[in-house]
Symmetry: C2
Subunit: 759 residues, 2 copies
């Protein structure tokens, strides 16, 4: 079945080994799941609280499926039909020798459609399965906390690792399978795979982000600010929705997001690798990145299994244990990469790119910590400004948010520069390949990263269950400590997620140029009209226009998502207020109707998601159809630049406000209930939708736009020869325009009816 | 003296007529000044309050001169010497036939240095003279308010018009003079003129922005929030600094800003016009824009003179009168442009570009109004969110702020598209010329615009003087109404300022490409290495790196300016608190020491200004020296894109919060003192430094960077041939890097000593 012209026996063995590793990673996930499920679920009161969370989570996941499945169906058909517009590439003919053009079309179309479904389903699986696992784990962690810290930590972390290994295993499986079957013809199919994963990640990120912050902000506003209730108070009708939201956002959303980055980096590396392979006839351009990924999975398995609390250590330091696992994985992988490069490649350049990626992850992490961790100057400075009220605290946060965007973006620029240096004197495609390998390096330890991230909502929910079922003080202390660690690990993963998103987007941007040129060459374009020759010139007015419009998209997206959160939060506030007025709720004699708040969040999240997805999918088609492919390249650059700056700004400012509030809650400037605390709560509430909804939504959005561009570009080229205006393209553009305007209107108003405002 | 090869008699007459019109504009300004100065200054009590403002304003202006004059001197020398690195252009030799190379260098170097001084001094004059005029006017307006609305309006508007006509007259004078003397050799000299004006505008914008908001935020925080005093209460030690600040920011800063846009559009139009002239030998590419400007000055004179209150109309509608003047000017200019195009050009394309510019100004204005005016849905929506506290109000503002950035940027994109369509099928330089002409059109009515803007602080200060000297109710009502109108006119001007800044920057970006290529051709570069042939390709990794770094600069700048404001505001808070503790201040038996607060603001503003200016001036040199001119082009595009988005976002959100607060103060949701009002005050305080410091500072910053790039590019090309690394450039880059890092450190800490934070 494998068709690899010129592959050495080692290379054939290597590719099959990688496939086995992928399955092994999945098996490890199932093994851990069984371990976690075998643990006990605690008292009846605990299970009672937990039932609320479980039901809420299930309702969300079910409803999500209902929204998403039809969309998957539509896109599958479109992707299948797209081969009838753009004939299969010359490489496809090389791979499937002897097939007629018609059967080739069928094969490629079918491959692309199935790959899309695979990408989508894998992404969905990671999110849905991971979230169900988290929900199963949280009550077990709460129960174990009554016994020991070490046990509670182990359950929480292993449950998180299930999601982590799913991400790793499925990501590797998909890419490798496609390569084994399609060989040099795989780029076409890989795009389908990438698009499926990215699109689903966008759905889950946006939906999850809106859900979690609508519940959180709503519950906070009405609970803390209005009625003076503590967090996780059982009389607050939104308290269960808030707990469910943590899973929806930080587990389902984040896991799908990282899965997608993991997948997209492999997709863009393989696409660029195939280009280099056709030029140099060395298969290592493709085999090495797959092996790197395989090694990453193995070292994640070892590293994550090492994470357990020390029964004799009473310090309850979960972060130390998690970090030990992480650094073990890192050490194993780098050593293995070195050995592989020495014996297999005889070329250190790819190795260097991978190491740059690992360094990049560490540096981004340090910068994130510096700006958002309470131990450093910026958060202290923000907290200090609470003394003159929330306005100065917010201004300081904005100032530091802008600053972190500067440093993170400069680090990305330096990373690309490193690639230029590593491949100095080589054509651009090498440099782009280097950037893609940096992305591979950055996400080597995805298993550990996702485990750390999914650990967050599990610990958080366990703590909530502990609070609501009134567990004893010792158990609560353990859960509190786990919860705090979870906040830190979540923040760390967020930095990696944004950084890898941009690196992945740059790699895709690179694939865009080579891919478009390939089609242009195939269609017999004049050399002076080929993108690889001309480049994407922002000095051409149309391309500059594309750049400007691209820059607006992240702003538009952020505006709409923030708006969606505040609107849904306002509904939650109304609902909780309504329930507070029911006699007996405040006196604890009547139990609030938690499910209504859960429903409000679920419905809002799903309703808001569709127009946003439409904007992401259709905007590149609009630009490509009306302004041409070079302008579409400018558009992509604009999206990447403004998306990166804005995403980091929002994540940074939000994280810093959050931790400034925590410092004050830990007793600084008068502690809880003080004026300073009130100021800090305002900052935190402003930051919440920025850091957990709008910011993270930009990661998959950037990549959806890039992938749609890659998929649409050949069609655009086919119908719009240089210098020719095409009626078809104009009509396509007009249709996209109308739908986008409709989507914006729908999103802004939360439906098509006009809201009425009092004056 | 004039050397215009092929100029028709009409064209020679036209150019002299434009020069006469420039002087006529200045004479009109002097005439209005005399009218204003002849008015009475009111009671002793009023003059007593006024003396505080006057002294504060003078102290600021004097100290500003002390900081700026040495910098002007340094840059003058650098600009003069630069001709010894880059030899004068071929065009210079055409203009000054028969001169030896050495004398030619002397002529061009001298011309560039003198032009720089002229640009700087003109900008300084507009700011300093305009602000002194505003200070002279405010007490006279207050005094006239005791008699009639019509008289008060007339004095305030005419005083504003003095600044407006100075802007018009000096901008036109400089450009025309340079063209008359240097003819086709003028681009070299024009750059010096543009740079002088822009650099000074940056100084005055940044200094003024920091001053005004440090005083405003400081006074608000301690006065309103802490002690519950009303605005402009005489016991608040920062109250005079606040009044001075309005002049410093809205008059000196804004006037210099618009002067600089006015100047830079003419500079870039003439540079591109000379390129087209050398290609087509038609002088109209240069004469027409100058005539358009001349017509604009004349119609501004007529329009502004028409603005006066109607003594029989008791509605006190100042905006109606001001708008009448504006539309009269607009009608006169468009008619005259049409006639000119018909009889002189026989070509409607330039006319169309100008009309697009006028339309652009109107559309931007409408968008600004839609998002920041209380009569429309967004501000109402923001105000409504005050009911759930300051956090939701701020979130709504952020959401609308992001959205306005989207629409404004799209409008700019459409404008460039219009240029592409108008010059369809022509080379890029025509399109760029069209964009520049759009800038000319947009700023046609600068006289009216600046008048409207300077009217704001005059009315605001008059109202403050009225409050502090306890004028009677009828007079206060008149002043209140003028003040409210001033807020609207200020907001309108702000929209025009940002929009014109971006259009001017795009035109400069265009000049960059043509200018760099000219030097490359002259230096015998291979065709494949010429920028006009290759374009600026973001698909080249180095250029993409430039784009990324360019995108960070506006974020860095905003971070530092916001930080500077909060730091200075905190000092003001400390000072006012200290004075509150002095016995007798609260009881009104002891007068506060207003001058100390004025001093704090003055010193802060000047200290913060230098590092920011260094960053703007050196960052393009750093990029150009280390990454080359094409990457510098990418850098410029990054600066323009992220600068535009961020500037509009900050201005929009800030303006919307401001007016949401005003709506509540006018009685909505409980009015002054209600919970909703507290929430809105927080939003307004957050928005203040965004809309009045950080946002506006980006306008001149974008252009300083563009002009420095234009000036530095030839040097970079001379020392760094393609494919060659140059030690000199590396050292230059390293020096810039060190200074920039130093400047950032200095700016972040407010000095080189480390701040100590409590924990």
């Amino acid at each position: 079945m494998v068709s690899l012209p010129g592959a050495s026996p080692f290379e054939v063995a290597a590719i099959w080994t990688v496939l086995v590793i992928a399955f092994f990673g999945l098996a490890y996930a199932m093994f851990l799941r069984r371990q976690v499920m075998a643990c006990d679920k605690g008292t009846e009161k605990m299970q009672d609280v937990w039932d609320g969370i479980r039901l809420g989570a299930n309702a969300y996941l079910k409803r999500q499926l209902r929204t998403i499945v039809p969309l998957i169906f539509v896109f599958t058909v479109i992707l299948f039909l797209s081969v009838y517009v753009v004939p299969p590439t010359a490489e496809s003919k090389l791979r499937f020798v002897g097939y007629s053009d018609e059967s080739l079309k069928l094969i490629i179309g079918f491959g692309r459609a199935v790959a899309f479904i695979m990408g989508a389903v894998f992404s969905l699986l990671v999110g849905q399965f991971g979230m169900r696992m988290a929900v199963q784990a949280n009550v077990r962690v709460a129960s174990a906390s009554r016994r020991s810290f070490a046990e509670a930590l182990k359950i929480a972390y292993r449950a998180g690792t299930v999601t982590g290994m799913l991400t790793d295993g499925l990501g590797l499986l998909g890419g490798t399978l496609i390569f084994i079957i399609f060989g040099v013809a795989s780029p076409d199919t890989l795009l389908g795979f990438g698009f499926g994963g990215t699109l689903l990640a966008l759905f889950m990120r946006v939906g999850g982000g809106i859900y979690t912050k609508a519940a959180d902000v709503g519950a906070d506003l009405v609970g803390k600010v209005e009625a003076g209730l503590p967090e996780d108070d059982e009389r607050n009708a939104a308290v269960i929705a808030d707990l469910v939201g943590d899973n929806v956002g930080d587990c389902a959303g984040m896991a799908a997001d990282i899965f997608e980055s993991y997948e997209v980096t492999i997709v863009s590396t393989l696409i660029l690798g195939v280009v280099l392979f056709t030029q140099t006839h060395e298969l290592s351009w493709i085999i090495f990145p797959l092996l790197v990924r395989g090694i990453g999975v193995l070292s994640s398995i070892v590293g994550t299994y090492l994470v357990k609390g020390n029964k004799n250590d009473k310090s309850n330091n979960a972060l130390k244990a998690i970090n030990k696992g992480f650094y073990s994985s890192a050490a194993i992988s780098i050593t293995a990469f070195g050995i592989l490069s020495y014996f297999y490649l005889n070329d250190w350049r790819s190795f260097l790119s991978v190491v740059v990626g690992i360094l990049l992850a560490i540096v981004l992490d340090e910068i994130t910590k510096h700006f958002t961790d309470g131990h450093y100057h910026p958060v202290k400075d923000i907290a200090k400004n609470s003394k003159t009220g929330s306005a100065t605290l917010i201004l300081k946060g904005l100032s530091y948010g802008f600053e972190i965007a500067v440093w993170q973006t400069l680090v990305i620029a330096i990373t690309i520069f490193a690639s230029v240096m590593i491949y100095y004197g080589q054509p651009i495609v090498y440099v782009l390949y280097g950037v893609a390998m940096t992305g591979i390096g950055m996400l080597t330890l995805t298993g550990n990263n996702v485990a750390m991230d999914a650990f967050g909502p599990i610990a958080d929910n366990a703590n909530g269950i502990g609070e609501l079922s009134h567990l004893d003080k010792d158990a609560r202390k353990i859960m509190d400590s786990l919860d705090a660690t979870g906040n830190t690990t979540k923040a760390i993963t967020k930095g990696v997620a944004i950084g890898s998103a941009v690196i992945a987007a740059v790699a895709l941007f690179g694939s865009f140029i080579t891919d478009v040129s390939k089609v242009q060459i195939q269609m017999g374009f004049d050399k002076s009209a080929q993108l690889i020759e001309t480049g994407i010139r922002i000095s051409v007015p149309m391309v500059f226009i594309g750049l400007l419009i691209g820059g607006t998209i992240p702003f538009l997206f952020s505006s709409l998502t923030i708006n969606a959160v505040t609107r849904a939060a306002a509904q939650i506030v109304e609902e909780v207020r309504r329930q507070f007025r029911i006699p007996g709720i405040i006196e604890r004699t009547v139990k609030p109707d938690y499910q209504r708040a859960v429903d409000i969040c679920t419905v809002s999240a799903q309703r808001e998601l569709v127009p946003l997805a439409l904007i992401a999918v259709l905007s590149p088609i609009l630009i490509g159809a009306l302004l041409g492919v070079e302008a579409l390249g400018g558009f992509l650059a604009g999206v990447i630049l403004s998306g990166q700056l804005l995403a980091v700004f929002m994540a940074g400012a939000g994280g810093a406000w959050d931790n400034a509030k925590k410092m004050i809650e830990d007793g600084l400037y008068g502690g809880k209930g003080s004026e300073a605390h009130h100021a800090a709560v305002v900052g935190d509430t402003v930051g919440d939708p920025l850091k957990d909804t709008a910011g993270p939504a930009l990661n998959p959005m950037i990549k959806v736009i890039n992938l749609v561009s890659l998929l649409a570009a050949p069609v655009i080229i086919a119908y719009q020869k240089p210098g020719q205006a095409s009626v078809g393209m104009f009509i396509t553009g007009a249709i996209c325009f109308v739908i986008i305007v409709g989507a914006i209107t729908f999103s802004k108003r939360g439906g098509f009816k006009k809201e009425v405002f009092e004056t």
